[in-house]
């Protein structure tokens, strides 16, 4: 326990240092990358709950992120903006404007509610069936965002969301996400999730309610996806339905898989690796000159490299960088194995 507290304390100190101290020293470019990494960490951590720990491989997670972004965006516009940008908004919504934190919480809660409605039927499915069905959900969300133009301005850009997302906010929410997920994953409930993932039949035979376990993981993941969506909306300021579609899905899945699907620290490591890699590749992609040789701009090249890395991981290291382990700086891990070693579990 103490070791974990030390690790958590160290992580918080580093994040606090970067959040409050760094803006004066570091370049805007670097700050932006750190913010995006932290934001993507929230997305990928929330995704790992269902896809990694419970074995329900959802392709619809970005639908929840999009829902969170739009809900929070609608709630945060000022009353004047609502009149000019969303003139057909129902009276219920057009007379007030929520500050950042309540808007984010409402977005998270509504997204979780949506996940209950969607997950209750869908969590009965397994394997590729749940993947295809959740992909259907993502497409439905996209169609609704495009067509419910009274709320979302349709396919046009939703704009005017106040740019409230700063590093302290993102790090704060990241810390909350990590804390909650850590407590969940390394708890009796977490062991139920993994039991459902590893052997569904055996899990239900020993009395685990498979549907309930999957649904809870799905809903909690969706809550943080909604929160992350709200943060993203307040970071971008303007976005459109296509922001929350297959490109983003693919990106988040690549991060999750690279880091390792059964590990919280793995999720964050995956985000960091993919983010740094794509930044590097992107600068190569624009074209460069070494001596006399000029490499022209090759748009799409960075994604191709990422795709090949992805396939190589699938073939040679399907469990990702971390697999099921956690990064603990050499202190005791929280896996079942180390608990056994220490005699915590008899």
């Amino acid at each position: 326990m103490t070791a974990r507290v030390i690790v958590a304390g160290l992580a918080l100190a580093v994040m606090g240092g970067i959040a409050f101290g760094a803006p004066s020293i570091m370049s805007d470019y670097f700050m932006r990358i750190i913010l995006i990494i932290a934001l993507n960490s929230i997305f990928v951590l929330s995704l790992s709950l269902s896809n990694g720990f419970t074995g329900v491989f959802s392709l619809g997670h970005v639908g929840f992120i999009g829902a969170g972004a739009y809900i929070s965006g609608i709630l945060s516009l000022t009353v004047q903006q609502k009149q000019s940008l969303l003139p057909h908004l129902p009276d219920l919504l057009n007379w007030f404007s929520l500050p950042f934190l309540p808007a984010t919480l409402v977005a998270g809660l509504f997204t979780a509610l949506l996940a209950v409605i969607v997950g209750y039927p869908l969590m009965r499915l397994s394997g590729y069936f749940v993947s295809v069905a959740t992909m259907g959900f993502l497409i439905i969300v996209n169609v609704v965002l495009i067509n419910a133009s009274n709320f979302t301005r349709g396919a046009r850009t939703f704009t005017g969301v106040p740019l409230d997302t700063t590093l302290p906010w993102v790090f704060g929410w990241l810390a909350v996400t990590v804390f909650v997920l850590w407590r969940l994953v390394y708890s009796p409930f977490g062991r139920r999730m993994k039991a459902v993932r590893d052997d569904t039949v055996a899990a239900s035979a020993v009395g685990i309610d498979v549907l309930k376990t999957r649904l809870l993981a799905f809903v909690i993941g969706a809550f943080f996806a909604g929160v992350g969506g709200s943060l993203y909306a307040h970071y971008l300021g303007s976005f459109s339905p296509v922001t929350f579609y297959f490109a983003m899905t693919m990106n988040l899945i690549a991060m999750l898989v690279l880091g390792g699907m059964g590990s919280l620290s793995g999720a964050i490591i995956g985000v960091i690796c993919v983010s740094i890699l794509s930044e590097l590749l992107r600068s190569v992609e624009r074209g460069f000159t070494i001596g006399d040789i000029t490499v022209p701009a090759l748009y799409g090249a960075s994604q191709i490299v990422l795709g090949f890395i992805f396939i190589l991981i699938m073939i040679f290291r399907p469990k990702g960088i971390m697999g099921e382990r956690e990064f603990t700086l050499g202190f005791s891990g929280s896996s079942a194995k180390s608990n056994l070693k220490q005699g915590k579990v008899k």
Partner: protein, 300 residues
């Protein structure tokens, strides 16, 4: 325009759209049947075929030989994808294989963007195929490419039917999709059957890709995406893995979409895709074996 003619026109539209969906769905179902793999790269194999055809027409090859060139290019692409990406993960868990196919999609699409940019290119359809027929005093319109699509669809499906019922390879393919280990036990070369399945499925993808692009009038790297998603729905309505199911599902989906667009109020029409994918989810939940395999059960 009288009601009857309007309905007839919609029937023509539905058959035309449905035959394209059926072509894509059949390919998906062949691969799923043999490998139990949801092959997301199928849409990009369509794109390979369409671009090859466009390039061939561009250098002066007539349409029909260029179409076959496209089909062959798709078949080669399918062969390579199986060999390079899918075979090493063949015995891995479902999720790993699903992710591998997503990665292949990602690569192919971006290779397409790299070579052709993401903006749409014109499909150089010969004028003879663009000629339109007007029946009943112009109330009913269809073009030669509509006729060609339907004819090629029927022809290729009859060919496929012959292949899987009359040839040793085709029978073996069906045996493998019925029960892979049993097929292996009776001495079938499963590796070869999987390769054959991929080549056949990819050839269908190529044909569908060229016809899709010819009807749309444009080609672009992301062109395979929408037909792929629709074909998933069609294949699952029919019963994923069943070839006849994919056929039925494809035509039903075409009919349903035309029905929504032609006969439902304008306020609902834009939600067509939402309705279609809700149907997909409903089928997965209540009839996971689709129409053709009603007894198949998929448990938790």
């Amino acid at each position: 325009m009288s009601g009857f003619e309007y309905i007839l026109q919609q029937v023509i539209n539905a058959v035309s759209l449905g035959s394209l969906y059926a072509l894509v769905a059949v390919g998906l179902s062949i691969v799923f049947g043999v490998l139990k793999l949801t092959n997301f790269a199928h849409g990009d194999v369509m794109m390979v075929g369409a671009f090859t055809t466009v390039l061939l027409i561009g250098v002066g090859v007539p349409f029909i030989p260029a179409l076959f060139g496209g089909i062959i290019a798709s078949a080669i692409a399918g062969f390579l994808i199986e060999r390079i990406a899918y075979r090493p993960v063949r015995n891995a868990p479902d999720v790993t294989r699903l992710l591998t196919s997503l990665a292949v999609t990602y690569i192919l699409e971006n290779v397409g963007i790299l070579i052709f940019t993401s903006s749409p290119h014109n499909f150089p359809l010969p004028d003879s195929l663009n000629e339109s027929w007007q029946l009943m005093g112009g109330a009913i319109t269809f073009t030669n490419i509509n006729i060609l699509t339907l004819a090629l669809t029927l022809l290729s499906l009859v060919g496929l039917g012959w292949f899987i019922t009359k040839t040793t390879l085709g029978l073996g393919m069906r045996a493998a999709s019925e029960d892979m280990s049993a097929a292996q036990l009776v001495g079938l070369d499963v590796n070869r059957l999987i390769v054959v399945a991929f080549i056949v499925a990819s050839a269908f993808a190529g044909l569908a890709g060229v016809l899709w692009a010819a009807q749309a009038g444009v080609v672009q790297p992301q062109m395979g995406f929408t037909p792929l998603l629709k074909a998933f729905v069609a294949a699952i309505i029919g019963g994923f893995g069943s070839i006849s199911g994919a056929l039925v599902g494809g035509f039903m989906l075409g009919a349903l979409e035309i029905l929504i667009v032609a006969f439902l109020p304008d306020a609902i029409t834009p939600y067509r895709d939402a309705i279609v994918f809700s149907l997909l989810i409903a089928f997965l939940l209540f009839r996971p074996g689709g129409l053709m395999q009603p007894n198949r059960e998929i448990k938790l």
